[in-house]
C-alpha cells in the first residue's frame, strides 16, 4: 500500500509540472509582448505593466521565467490580483466558501445517485427506471448556466422559496439552491453506475445464497445488494469533487457566491488576464491533488485493486 501511495505521488510530479508549464507556456510564449497581450485592447498603466514584468520575471529567458514563477508559487508568493489584494488572502477567504458549496453539492449528488440508482436497478425496465433514465438524460444535457437561470427564475424570483443570489450570506441554507442544482446536473453518472452494479449484483451468487438461506428482501437489499454496489458510486462522487471545485466558476458567478469561482468569474468577465491565469493554475493544482486522493481512496476501498 505504501509503495502504491509513493508511486502514485511520484507519478503526479511530472503531471504537476507539465500542467503548470503548459498554462504558463500558453500565456507567455505567445508572439508579441505578453504584457500587452494580458491587457487585450486596453492600454496598461506603465506602473502596472512594470509590476507584472517583475512578477513574471520577463527579463529572464523563458524557462527561467517559468522556474522562478514556480518558486514563487511554492513559497506561497502568489502575487496580487488586479485590485491589489494578495492572492493568498483572497484564496484564504474564498476557498472555504467554495469548499462548503461543493461539499454540499457532492453529498446531494451521492444521495441522488444511490437512491435513484438503487430503485432503478431493482426495477429494471419498469416505469420508474424508464422515467429516471429520460430525466437523467435531459438533466445531463442542460448546460449549467441554463440550469442555474431556470432555478433562479422559478425558485428564487417566481416562488420566492430561496434567495435569488447568495452574496455575503454564505450559510448552508442560502447555498442550498445552487448546490442542489449542481447536484442535479451531475448525479447522472453516479446514478447509472449504481443502477448497473445493482443489476449485476442482483444476479450474483451471494445474493441468491442470501435468498436461499431465507433472508428477507428487506435485509438483502440494503446489506447485500446496496452495500456491494457502492464502491463505484463513491469513487465517482469523489472524482466529481475535484471537477466541481475546478468548475464552480459559472455557478458562483450567477449566484454571486464569494468563492474562488466568483473571483475567476469576475476576472474573466472584466478581462483581467493575469488574475485569470493565477486562479486557473491554482484550480488545476487543486484538481490534480484531489485526483491523486481519489485514486488512493479507490485502492483503499476496493481490495481487489492493488497496483504494485
Amino acid at each position: 500500500m505504501l509503495t502504491y501511495i509513493l508511486r502514485r505521488v511520484l507519478q503526479a510530479i511530472p503531471v504537476f509540472f507539465g500542467t503548470t508549464f503548459l498554462i504558463y507556456f500558453m500565456v507567455f510564449a505567445m508572439p508579441g509582448d505578453p504584457i500587452a497581450g494580458l491587457f487585450g485592447d486596453k492600454t496598461p498603466n506603465p506602473a502596472v505593466a512594470d509590476a507584472l514584468r517583475a512578477q513574471f520575471n520577463l527579463d529572464q529567458p523563458f524557462i527561467m521565467q517559468y522556474l522562478l514563477y514556480m518558486k514563487d508559487f511554492f513559497t506561497g508568493n502568489l502575487g496580487v490580483t488586479f485590485s491589489g489584494q494578495q492572492v493568498s488572502d483572497v484564496l484564504a477567504r474564498a476557498f472555504p466558501v467554495t469548499l462548503k458549496l461543493v461539499l454540499m453539492a457532492v453529498v446531494l449528488e451521492f444521495i441522488l445517485s444511490v437512491v435513484i440508482g438503487l430503485i432503478s436497478g431493482l426495477r429494471k425496465g419498469k416505469f420508474f427506471d424508464n422515467i429516471s433514465l429520460v430525466v437523467a438524460l435531459v438533466l445531463s444535457s442542460v448546460p449549467v448556466f441554463v440550469a442555474m437561470f431556470v432555478a433562479q427564475y422559478f425558485v428564487g424570483i417566481k416562488w420566492g422559496l430561496a434567495p435569488v443570489t447568495v452574496g455575503a450570506d454564505t450559510t448552508w441554507g442560502a447555498m442550498f439552491l445552487p448546490a442542489a442544482v449542481i447536484a442535479l446536473t451531475v448525479y447522472v453518472t453516479g446514478m447509472r453506475l449504481m443502477r448497473g452494479s445493482v443489476i449485476e449484483s442482483r444476479q450474483a451468487d451471494y445474493v441468491r445464497t442470501a435468498y436461499a438461506k431465507g433472508l428477507t428482501h428487506k435485509r438483502i437489499v440494503p446489506v447485500h445488494i446496496a452495500r456491494n454496489s457502492l464502491i463505484p458510486v463513491i469513487t465517482n462522487t469523489a472524482a466529481s469533487f475535484g471537477a466541481l471545485i475546478a468548475g464552480t466558476t459559472v455557478t458562483e458567478g450567477i449566484f454571486n457566491i464569494p468563492g474562488i469561482g466568483q473571483v475567476l468569474y469576475q476576472a474573466i468577465t472584466q478581462s483581467e488576464v493575469p488574475t485569470v491565469v493565477t486562479f486557473v493554475t491554482i484550480l488545476t493544482v487543486i484538481y490534480v491533488i484531489v485526483n491523486i486522493l481519489v485514486d488512493l481512496l479507490y485502492a483503499v476501498l476496493d481490495p481487489r485493486i492493488r497496483y504494485v
Binding site: P14, L137, T269
Partner: protein, 313 residues
C-alpha cells in the same frame, strides 16, 4: 460374414430420393454494425434525436430556409422585449431583435464549433491513443504522460485561458482549437484502453504472422475493431463542445459580440431575466435540445453497439 440378410435395407445412393424442401435457411447476415442498426431502428428515441440533429444541421447550412431576416439586422428598439406577434413567433430581445431569427442564425455557430472540436479531438486523440496502446513500451509511457498532462487541466479552464489571451483573435476556429486542443486527452485514454484489449486477439497475431507490418496491422485490424467507444465519445463530445462554446461566450471570452451565438444571446438576456424571461428561454431551449439530441444519439449508439448493454436493458 454370414449370409443372413441384413436387417435393414439400405438403398443405393442413386435410388434415394432425398430432397430438402421448404426448409429455406434464410441467411441472416449479422455483424456488429448491422445488429446495431437493427437495434436502433426499433427505438423511437433514435428517430427523435436524428430529426433534431437534421433540423439543426439544416438551420446551420441554409438558415434562409427558416427565416428571411438577415443576420444582425432589423432590430428596432420600439420592439424592445416585445412578446410574440405574427411573423415573430418568439418575440423580441431587449435590443428589439427577432428572437426566432437569432435562434436560427445561432445554430450555425454552435454546430460549426461542435464539428470542428470533434475533428480536432479525433485528429489528435485517435493517433495518440492508438499508437500508445498498440506499440506499448517507451512510446506508450511517453505519449501517455503527455496525455496525462492535458487530461489534468480541466478543458474548460484551459479554454478560458487560451481565449482570454487571444482576446483579439476570437473566432469559431480559435474557440474550437482551445476546446479541442485539450478535450482530445480523454478520447486518447479511452482508445488506448480499447486497443490494449484488442491487441492480444488471435486475428492481430494472424495478421502479423502472414507478414503484415505493425503499422498496417494497426490500421487494418486493431483500429477498426476499437472504434465503438470512439464513435460514442465523439458524438457526446459534440454536444459537450456546443455547451463549452456557449459557456465561454456567456462569460464573454467566447465569440465576439457581433457573432450570433446561443451563448452570446443567453449572456445578453440574463440582465433582463426578471422583465423578459422569454429572451433567455428560447436560445436556452435551442441549446439544450441540440445537446440533448447528441447525447441521446451517443447513448443509443453505445447501447446498440454493446451486446452486454442490450442484455442489461
Amino acid at each position: 460374414m454370414s449370409n443372413r440378410p441384413s436387417e435393414h435395407y439400405v438403398a443405393p445412393i442413386e435410388d434415394a430420393n432425398v430432397e430438402v424442401d421448404a426448409l429455406k435457411l434464410k441467411e441472416r447476415k449479422s455483424n456488429l454494425w448491422l445488429d446495431a442498426w437493427r437495434d436502433l431502428r426499433r427505438r423511437p428515441l433514435f428517430y427523435a434525436a436524428v430529426a433534431m440533429v437534421l433540423l439543426v444541421t439544416l438551420m446551420a447550412l441554409w438558415p434562409t430556409l427558416f427565416t428571411d431576416v438577415p443576420p444582425n439586422s432589423e432590430c428596432s428598439l420600439s420592439n424592445s422585449n416585445g412578446g410574440a406577434v405574427a411573423g415573430h413567433p418568439m418575440g423580441f430581445t431587449r435590443q428589439g431583435c427577432d428572437i426566432y431569427a437569432r435562434v436560427v442564425w445561432g445554430a450555425r455557430t454552435s454546430l460549426a464549433v461542435g464539428v470542428l472540436v470533434v475533428a480536432i479531438t479525433a485528429a489528435i486523440g485517435i493517433p495518440m491513443g492508438a499508437i500508445a496502446g498498440f506499440f506499448g513500451g517507451k512510446i506508450d509511457s511517453f505519449l501517455s504522460r503527455i496525455g496525462d498532462i492535458f487530461f489534468s487541466i480541466p478543458y474548460f479552464l484551459a479554454a478560458v485561458v487560451v481565449m482570454s489571451v487571444l482576446s483579439d483573435l476570437r473566432s469559431v476556429w480559435t474557440i474550437a482549437l482551445a476546446i479541442g486542443g485539450f478535450a482530445w486527452a480523454s478520447l486518447a485514454r479511452i482508445l488506448r484502453a480499447e486497443i490494449l484489449q484488442v491487441k492480444n486477439s488471435d486475428y492481430i497475431m494472424a495478421s502479423e504472422a502472414v507478414g503484415r507490418g505493425r503499422m498496417s496491422t494497426l490500421m487494418r485490424h486493431a483500429l477498426p475493431n476499437s472504434l465503438t467507444p470512439v464513435i460514442v465519445t465523439l458524438t457526446i463530445a459534440l454536444g459537450a463542445a456546443i455547451v463549452a462554446e456557449a459557456t465561454l461566450s456567456f462569460l464573454g471570452v467566447g465569440l465576439g459580440d457581433t457573432v450570433m451565438s446561443w451563448g452570446n444571446d443567453i449572456s445578453k438576456a440574463q440582465t433582463s431575466i426578471r422583465t423578459a424571461p422569454m429572451s433567455l428561454v428560447w436560445p436556452s431551449l435551442a441549446l439544450t435540445l441540440t445537446v440533448l439530441a447528441f447525447i441521446v444519439l451517443g447513448e443509443l449508439i453505445r447501447d446498440a453497439l454493446d451486446p452486454k448493454a442490450r442484455a442489461r436493458r
